[in-house]
């Protein structure tokens, strides 16, 4: 039996054109994420890592190549509730309570949120927001809002989870804490995860594979496998093995 990859991009090209000038965002990008794996996409601004994610989510068209999410076309996969997504900003609807924000994808997919009461309660507990079910986003801290956004991304029990710098707006300390939590949550769900990030530490800590990209034109330059056993703990950050890997990725990033 051959495994269907969670996320598969084959030779995807994308060029932005506007009056006279054109920018090659992706030039023949290929990416394979085995099911149940955690992949981090890392690279400088403008390397097309967010574009790749948006293409995989069907939010953006591409010029050529092939994209498959759990064996399906992106539009089919997203409309079927196969995917979950968390963006850089929590992007919560300010007039909806925590639970109703978490239920938002269900409404878009045409499912009845009332039948997911148990799942929602479980997710609220999983992200540590018990007691805040009826709070509005304006009453929560930045970190809490991000956890709501993570819970929202998990409500459909997605096979494939996309995250675009979900903790980009948080400070270093909160970020590390959230990464430990994210690892725990992901291990419970066992979905295929793709994380877009600027942070080398974060990528090495969380991922099984770190995919390093370069800009102009956007392309994959190297895939680094991260061998650390799970669950990974905060102490990992201090180990020489960790530093060896981050140093190596940094040198790939800087093209040395």
């Amino acid at each position: 039996m051959t495994e269907v990859p969670g996320i598969s991009l084959r030779n995807v090209c994308k060029t932005y054109r506007s009056r006279g000038s054109q920018v090659v965002a992706l030039e023949g990008m290929t990416l394979d994420c085995p099911p149940g794996s955690f992949t981090a996409l890392i690279g400088p601004s403008g390397c097309g890592k967010s574009t790749a994610m948006r293409i995989a989510l069907g939010l953006e068209d591409y010029d050529s190549g092939e994209v498959r999410i759990a064996g399906q076309a992106p539009a089919t996969a997203t409309a079927g509730g196969v995917t979950g997504v968390a963006f850089q900003d929590a992007a919560l609807l300010p007039w909806r309570s925590v639970t109703r924000n978490i239920a938002l994808p269900l409404e878009v997919l045409g499912r009845d949120p009332a039948r997911y009461g148990h799942e929602i309660a479980k997710l609220v507990e999983l992200v540590g927001l018990k007691g805040y079910e009826n709070a509005l986003p304006g009453q929560l801290s930045g970190g809490m809002r991000q956890r709501v956004s993570i819970a929202r991304s998990l409500i459909t029990s997605p096979e494939v989870l996309f995250m675009d710098e979900p903790f980009g707006a948080l400070d270093q300390i909160r970020r590390r804490q959230m990464n430990v939590e994210l690892q725990r949550i992901w291990q419970e769900t066992r979905s295929t995860a793709l994380l877009v990030t600027h942070g080398i530490d974060e990528a090495v800590f969380l991922a099984d594979y770190v995919v390093v990209m370069h800009a102009n034109p956007g392309r994959v330059v190297e895939v680094v496998e991260i061998p650390f056993p799970r669950p990974r703990r905060d102490e990992l950050y201090g180990t020489p093995e960790f530093h060896a890997l981050t140093d190596r990725i940094a040198s790939v990033l800087h093209g040395k």
Partner: protein
């Protein structure tokens, strides 16, 4: 918000008390225009004597304006949603929208009375008064949605209508409520103007018209204040609702990405030309359809062609042109003069507002209240105080342009961040230099917007004054033609005043675009 509002609440109250005391003294001593300003106590006594008249008139006005408010706003919000979903439809409807915005209500009141029956003219004029404000607020609200929230919806396969339902409509509610707040007094003004145009026994406009000739200042003041109270209350109701809705659900973070501009740049040239021509033709098509649908005889209701015929082809057309020309020569100069003076004062006062914040805090509530005053109810009072000469027309024009322009300008200047002001200050710039470098350029876009927005009000103000007081110009021509049953002239004055208003609006817009583009600024909607 709360903090910025509290401080001027008590000075405003104090100023109101001072105003009432001064008013009473001036009235008792007959200091102003030989007793044309009655003391507050006289007005209250008169109000008490007339208490049997008010309920019927107030109920009639409130009923027509409420009905018009509801109908106009349903149409406005529905159009706003359609315009956002189909931007080309908005371009096609542009001519109609601007015409509705720019039409001086008093000019079409007689037409509505001619073509519609019963309560309908009042309801239609009230609805026309609210349509543009609410439609614009809806379009602005729906256009400025959070693109990141929309991405979340689309990432789950959500379609445009789902983004509309789940994100944009709800997100637009504060803007729509803001529109309704401004629209509510307009509905009252529209209804009263239509009551003025004739027909019906009840309504504050009818009451006012009936009381005009009787030389009872205290009663006129009573009616004027009652109309202001109704308009002010309608404003306050929506201000309260929007404050409650806004409270807890204000957006928690700033969206840095702008929503994609619905810019139709790559549409074929032929389509763009067709849309522009359609937009220009549509108001006339609707006009024609309106006449056909109401089935009013051609004698009374003129089609666009009927007006052209009346003005250029018919036997008496030379006489009609001469009358119209003479009226325009009286109306236009005074309108222009009043506007320049009103806008000039507003600009000077607004740019110096940074230097005397205390004065502005006390003055702003008064400026806001005057915006809700139904102009038509005030004119007789100004006539009482200023007589029937040119000065009354000039004062009305100045006041109707000054207050909205001032509010807009101050709000614009207050948007300049403190840090921008701190830069010249940090280099020891004088107050005058700071004014020249920061405040005046910052206020410029708002001055243009104010000019554009006050043109129809200025024309409306002048025409009301001419109708009620001076007996000159377009307003008088309209009133006279009603008496002579000169239907052709009524339609001509109405269409010419709307066209003038639209033409002036576009002229200002053209100058504004060129100037602001050269300065690298954005046009304020």
């Amino acid at each position: 918000m709360e903090n910025s509002r509290r401080p001027w609440r008590s000075p405003a109250l104090r100023n109101l008390v001072i105003l009432l005391v001064v008013w009473e003294v001036v009235g008792q001593l007959k200091l102003l225009a030989g007793g044309a300003l009655p003391p507050v106590s006289d007005i209250l006594v008169r109000f008490w004597q007339d208490r049997g008249d008010y309920p019927g008139h107030v109920a009639a006005t409130v009923w027509s304006s409420t009905l018009g408010f509801v109908i106009g706003n349903i149409l406005a919000i529905a159009s706003g949603v359609l315009f956002v979903l189909f931007p080309r439809l908005q371009r096609l409807a542009r001519g109609v929208n601007i015409a509705i915005f720019a039409l001086p209500a008093i000019a079409i009141a007689p037409i509505l009375v001619l073509t519609l029956e019963g309560n309908a003219p009042r309801v239609v004029l009230a609805a026309l008064g609210v349509y543009f404000v609410t439609m614009t607020a809806t379009v602005v609200g729906l256009s400025q949605y959070d693109t990141r929230s929309a991405d979340v919806i689309r990432a789950y396969g959500g379609k445009d209508w789902q983004v509309m339902r789940l994100v944009r409509l709800r997100g637009a509610i504060p803007d729509i409520l803001g529109g309704l707040r401004i629209a509510a007094p307009n509905a009252v003004l529209g209804a009263i103007l239509a009551e003025f145009g004739g027909g019906g026994r009840w309504g504050l406009g009818t009451y006012l018209l009936g009381s005009l000739g009787r030389g009872e200042p205290a009663r006129l003041w009573g009616i004027g204040l009652m109309a202001t109270l109704i308009a002010g209350l309608s404003y306050a109701i929506f201000a309260l609702i929007s404050a409650r809705v806004l409270g807890a659900t204000r957006s928690v973070s700033l969206n840095t990405a702008l929503p994609p501009a619905d810019y139709d740049a790559d549409a074929p040239l032929a389509l763009r030309i067709a849309l522009a021509l359609g937009a220009a033709a549509l108001p006339f098509v609707l006009w024609w359809a309106f006449i056909r649908l109401t089935g009013v005889p051609e004698m009374i209701a003129k089609t666009p062609w009927g007006v052209v015929d009346y003005l250029f082809l018919a036997d008496a057309s030379a006489v009609a042109r001469a009358k119209l020309g003479a009226a325009l020569m009286q109306t236009l100069p005074i309108t222009a003069l009043g506007m320049v003076a009103g806008l000039g004062f507003a600009f000077l006062l607004a740019i110096s507002s940074r230097m005397m914040p205390g004065f502005i805090r006390a003055f702003m509530p008064i400026a806001l209240v005057t915006q809700t005053m139904p102009l038509v109810a005030l004119t007789p009072l100004l006539v009482l105080m200023l007589g029937r000469g040119l000065s009354v027309t000039l004062w009305i024009t100045i006041s109707v342009t000054f207050f909205p322009a001032f509010v807009l300008l101050v709000q614009g200047i207050q948007r300049v961040p403190q840090s921008v002001l701190d830069v010249p200050r940090a280099y020891g710039a004088s107050a005058w230099k700071e004014l020249r470098m920061v405040s005046i350029p910052a206020a410029l876009p708002y001055l243009f917007a104010a000019t554009r927005l006050t043109v129809p009000r200025a024309l409306l103000g002048v025409m009301i004054a001419e109708w009620l007081a001076t007996g000159t110009g377009l307003g008088n021509l309209l009133n006279q033609s009603r008496g002579y049953l000169d239907y052709g002239m009524i339609w001509t004055v109405a269409s010419v005043s709307v066209c003038l208003s639209v033409a002036f609006y576009y002229a200002v817009l053209a100058v504004e675009r060129r100037t602001l583009t050269r300065l690298g600024m954005q046009v304020v909607e």
